[in-house]
């Protein structure tokens, strides 16, 4: 009973019938309610794209209007009953949608929205001019309904079939197809990497939308007993979209309430004023801005429930006993490489990120790929998985050339990957995140069966969840998980597609030690039955786990062999570990700035996070005038987040920041910069379309260094001053970024991984510049390699788990390898 009461179709039916009775009681024409019913279905069709698939068609009216004409023309010329005409309208819309989809679906975002609008306009122009067929301006009249003659009979038919239509869409939303659409909305790239054909899914949802809207358009023609062009014009093109937004985009009942509110308001407002848009537009604007989930959102707030209602919230029950994840070995010859790469090269402009790489990956082995940041590891993975096309070279998988194969087909062949930057489905439940990956294996095309009804599939999902320790959180929404849990989920998704070879991109980054052990063991186990290619920074663990290690440096493969061989390779030591080379003459000579200097920056109890997760909690930090502070910590502990909070691009939840005597906690980033804090951001963030000089000039303010001084600091820039930033090398970019930060009068410079991806010679040059600045301006240097900055810093600060675990003299930390090892985590317990 409650299930029936909660079913959205019940709601649609009850609301429509209720309105009908009310209108009948008032003696008002019931056709208005018929219209509401029709627009409800129209809106639901649009919402299939907006809410479920994540595409925004501004001109879905092209289907509504054209189907209207199709029905009217059919009835007037060759069909004598309305049911046949409706069938014709739907078939016609399917066809129209298929043709339009082929043309515009490859465009995304705004281009997609505007293109649908363009098609609506084209249809409008044609309908308006082709008087012989469409009646042009006058429209078509005289459609005679054969069976549903009276208003009430037609109304009843409409309400029932619209309810059925909503029921159908509700079924589809829960079917494997609909579930895949929702995953697509959240993360297209991930879907492709799981083996879903993104285009085919979008195509099917677009065509389905066309059919649903086509049916609504057909009903409209029957209601009006004619067809008119004005529904195609730009003024009405957005009607359904407005209704959906008014009702609530991520709500299954959004289109219903949107259509009710829109239609009745329009009806009543237009009776009392000729400028009804003057009243209606502010209403729309207020809803769009203040209640992103529309009317349903407001109602939810009243009843204290928040969230999306696109699908049922339930997930299949967790079995009492979850069987452990069983994985049979793949069928492969251990002596033959499963994946081989020859002469693979990739350039971005002048930047070479892959240079003639040759590599073979054998099954049943854990093969690791290491290299300093920026060595081109992720680019290499992107070429293997099909995100990037190489400039030269070939990739062979199981003796098939896959160099030009699209990503989803590679995934189907058995190439699975995880992503360095978290790539999950934030709006789905944890269970569904995994299930969608499991579903990819079966490649089910079902439109009607409940995807959660497949018990075998559900069991496998639970097994995978258990394998990564997430079985207790299956029902939670992914976005609300803490960072570590999301990382586990990321790996679990990759496991779930049961690939032959797993490309794992830093799966351990950001995990707590306990989780690292779990995941490490899991990867090891997988490597015994599958093939694994692993990118990882945790060198100790890599050395311990791997069967084979390849080392990438500046796009070149510099070593390939057993762990112990690689670890002893001098070139690897020089390039990767690189210690000892960064000592610059003069560092030791500079007098360290001690505790006697005045306070410059004080951070107290700072808590920051994204969405539902907390990254920093109760963090304290102190920087003194002229001090060089090394901010250390493993990947993903929140170093960059801290810088974002300090510079005002991320609002702290709690705590305060006092800089140069004023509180900057809530200041805009430009105000903070004007107070004297500059940032050299991660990835440099130069303006690619501006020249070097322009990049510098844009920041220039009196009190900062001059362009001439910038060139003195980095002589190399003088020769490149006219070059566009996008054509600079990595090192040059970093120099511009640092010089840019100095163009403003700074008292504190925050440098986020300043040496990332730089060749040793460039590192020297940058380091020399920093040394010259030392003492003149305070610096916070974010690094994950302690040895790179400790000799240079006065003070060190180590972040662990979003809090400061060490704050003290840099020299003390530098002299205590045991402490470093404990805090900066090359393997040892952070349990300490």
């Amino acid at each position: 009973m409650t299930r029936l009461a909660r079913h959205p179709v019940t709601w649609v039916f009850v609301v429509l019938v209720g309105l009908t009775l009310l209108w009948q009681a008032m003696g008002a024409p019931v056709t208005l309610i018929t219209e509401i019913a029709i627009y409800t279905l129209y809106g639901a069709g649009v919402n299939l794209l907006v809410g479920y698939t994540g595409l925004v068609p501004f001109g879905a009216s092209v289907f509504f209007g054209c189907a209207s004409y199709a029905t009217a023309i059919a009835m007037l010329r060759f069909l004598d009953n309305e049911i046949a005409a409706l069938v014709f309208a739907v078939a016609f819309s399917f066809l129209l949608a298929a043709v339009i989809a082929l043309i515009i679906l490859r465009r995304s975002g705004l281009y997609f929205s505007l293109l649908t609008l363009a098609f609506s306009q084209i249809a409008f122009e044609i309908a308006f001019k082709w008087t012989a067929l469409t009646g042009g301006e006058n429209g078509l009249q005289g459609v005679q309904r054969q069976w549903l003659r009276g208003d009430l009979a037609f109304h009843a038919f409409t309400v029932v079939t619209v309810s059925l239509g909503i029921w159908l869409l509700w079924r589809v939303a829960h079917a494997p197809f609909g579930r895949a659409l929702q995953a697509l909305r959240d993360n297209q790239l991930r879907m492709a990497s799981l083996g879903y054909n993104v285009f085919a899914l979008k195509f099917a949802s677009f065509v389905l939308m066309g059919g649903v809207i086509g049916y609504a358009g057909g009903l409209l023609a029957l209601l009006l007993r004619g067809a008119y062009a004005d529904n195609l014009g730009w003024r009405h093109a957005g009607d359904a979209l407005l209704m959906v937004v008014l009702g609530g985009v991520h709500q299954v009942l959004g289109p219903l309430f949107g259509a009710v509110a829109f239609t009745i308001l329009q009806d009543r407002l237009s009776a009392i004023t000729e400028s009804w848009w003057l009243i209606f537009a502010p209403i729309i604007i207020l809803f769009a801005l203040l209640s992103p989930e529309g009317i349903v959102g407001v109602a939810q707030r009243l009843f204290g429930r928040v969230g999306w209602t696109l699908v049922r919230h339930s997930i299949p029950a967790r079995p009492a006993i979850i069987p452990p994840l069983a994985g049979g070995a793949i069928d492969a010859d251990p002596e033959q490489p499963i994946l081989s790469v020859r002469g693979l090269s990739k350039q971005f402009g002048t930047l070479v990120t892959a240079d003639n790489i040759a590599l073979e990956v054998y099954p049943f082995r854990l093969h690791s790929l290491i290299g300093p940041n920026g060595a081109g590891k992720t680019t290499f993975f992107n070429m293997l998985s099909g995100i990037l096309a190489p400039n030269a070279g070939s990739i062979t998988f199981e003796e098939r050339d896959i160099t030009r194969m699209p990503m989803h087909r590679r995934a189907r062949l058995g190439i699975g990957r995880s992503f360095q930057i978290l790539s999950v489905f934030p709006n789905l439940t944890v269970f569904e995140n995994i299930r969608i990956a499991v579903q990819a294996r079966t490649r089910s095309r079902d439109f009607f069966v409940d995807a959660h009804g497949d018990a075998g599939q559900a069991l496998r999902v639970w097994s995978i969840l258990q394998a990564v320790g997430l079985e207790a959180r299956g029902h939670e929404q992914c976005a609300n998980l803490p960072h570590g849990a999301k990382r586990l989920l990321e790996i679990a998704i990759t496991l779930a597609i049961d690939a032959k070879i797993l490309l794992l991109d830093e799966p351990l980054a950001g995990l707590a030690e306990a989780d690292r052990q779990v995941v490490g063991a899991l990867i090891r186990k997988l490597a015994d039955t599958h093939a694994v290619l692993l990118i990882e920074h945790d060198i100790d663990r890599v050395l311990a786990l791997s069967d084979r290690i390849s080392v990438l440096h500046q796009g070149r493969l510099i070593a390939d062999g057993k762990p112990e061989e690689v670890a002893a390779n001098p070139e690897v030591i020089a390039a990767y570990l690189g210690t000892g080379e960064r000592n610059v003459a003069g560092i030791a000579a500079a007098a360290p700035v001690g505790d006697e200097a005045a306070e410059l920056l004080r951070v107290e109890g700072l808590s920051v996070g994204y969405g539902g997760s907390t990254v920093l909690e109760g963090l304290d930090l102190l920087v003194r005038e002229g001090q060089a502070v090394a901010l250390l910590g493993r990947n993903g502990v929140g170093k960059t987040t801290l810088l974002r909070a300090l510079t005002g691009t991320l609002r702290p939840r709690e705590g305060r920041v006092v800089f140069a005597g004023q509180e900057t906690t809530r200041m805009a980033s430009y105000q903070i910069n004007r107070a004297g804090m500059s940032l050299v951001p991660e990835g440099r963030r130069l303006f690619p379309n501006l020249s070097v000089v322009e990049n510098l000039r844009i920041a220039a303010r009196p009190g900062g260094i001059s362009i001439e001084q910038a060139f003195e600091l980095f002589p190399r820039l003088r020769t490149r001053q006219r070059a566009k930033a996008e054509n600079l090398s990595g090192g040059e970019r970093q120099m511009v970024a640092i010089a840019r930060a100095l163009m403003v009068p700074s008292r504190l410079i925050l440098l986020d991984e300043p040496f990332e991806g730089l060749a040793p010679a460039i590192v020297q040059e940058v380091m020399a510049a920093l040394v010259r600045l030392r003492g003149r301006v305070a610096m916070v240097i974010v690094e994950h390699h302690a040895e790179a900055v400790l000799p240079f810093a006065d003070h060190a600060c180590v972040l662990v788990n979003g809090q400061v675990a060490y704050a003290g003299s840099a020299a003390t930390l530098a002299a205590d390898p045991a402490l470093q090892a404990r805090l900066l985590g090359v393997g040892q317990a952070e349990a300490a």
């Binding site: 515009i104 937004v245 400028s275 537009a281 430009y670 379309n689 844009i698």
Partner: protein, 287 residues
């Protein structure tokens, strides 16, 4: 035949110039603010209406103030409304600016009535150069269009504000991190875009029919021009605008009733061949 074709191309260039003026503001606003401004046509219409009102109040010289007034209205709109959209998803900005467009139209209708406002060019007459015919006023419009575009280009290229605009179109947050008061830049930019649309409105007032619905005749071509040229590209908008103008003029010569449809067909075709428009670059922000 060649005579009339030449004349048609000249006529197309003038029309295209107006399209460029309308579209360029849309493009600048999109580039920096990331907002597709459906209400842009409304600001174009405001330009025409302000020109008429100012002319009636104080004669021709006062008309120069019309674009400035439009700019001020634009800045007010940015502060009150558009600003709320920056951290919202694109769907919200589509809906809000669409509603704003219809609201501006309703306001104009309330203030001025729905009937067309009579307004004629300050001077008439034609020039004939061989086969090519152009009216004095159109020549004036074209010259002024070129001057405005050149001035705008120089402004973007050589002034600090222009530098900020170009930089901000790629990475607005970083602009703020360099100590540049981004909110004020955004307000000014929106005002600038609207003011340019206002100039187009003033120039078009003596040529087109001035009614509240004239925004419609501006916004759709502007969308087409911006999309064909490539979202956010200055040169793209110029090329696409002139192209659409000339294509329209030539279609009128050979298949007049298809003149408006051709524009959309051209857009679909060009986007098929070049997904980001003629000169559109890949901008991470908008992919």
């Amino acid at each position: 035949m060649l005579d009339i074709l030449l004349s048609q191309i000249v006529a197309g260039l003038v029309l295209g110039g107006l399209y460029v003026l309308i579209a360029i503001g849309l493009s600048i606003i999109f580039g920096l603010l990331g907002i597709v401004n459906f209400a842009h046509g409304g600001f174009f219409a405001l330009g025409a209406y302000f020109a008429i009102s100012l002319y009636q109040l104080a004669g021709w010289p006062a008309v120069i103030l019309a674009p400035l007034l439009v700019g001020v209205v634009g800045m007010a709109a940015e502060r009150l409304l558009i600003r709320q959209l920056y951290d919202k998803e694109p769907l919200v900005s589509l809906i809000v600016t669409f509603a704003l467009a219809l609201m501006i139209e309703a306001l104009l209708r309330l203030a001025y009535g729905g009937i067309g406002q009579p307004f004629s060019a300050p001077f008439t007459g034609i020039y004939l150069w061989g086969p090519v015919l152009i009216t004095k006023y159109r020549l004036f419009v074209f010259v002024l269009t070129v001057v405005v575009l050149l001035a705008l280009w120089a402004f973007l290229q050589f002034t600090p504000f222009g530098r900020i605009l170009r930089a901000g179109s790629r990475d607005p947050e970083m602009v703020g991190l360099l100590g540049i008061p981004l909110p004020r830049v955004l307000t000014a930019t929106f005002g600038l875009g609207c003011a340019i649309a206002g100039i187009a409105g003033v120039l078009a007032a003596p040529l087109w029919t001035v009614t509240p619905a004239m925004s419609e005749g501006a916004i759709m071509p502007a969308f087409v021009v911006v999309t064909i040229g490539g979202l956010g590209s200055f040169a793209g908008a110029v090329i696409a605008g002139l192209l659409i103008g000339v294509v329209s003029a030539l279609t009128i010569q050979f298949a007049p009733s298809a003149a408006t449809t051709m524009m959309y067909v051209a857009m679909a075709v060009i986007l098929l061949i070049r997904p980001r428009g003629l000169l559109g670059e890949r901008w991470e922000r908008f992919e």
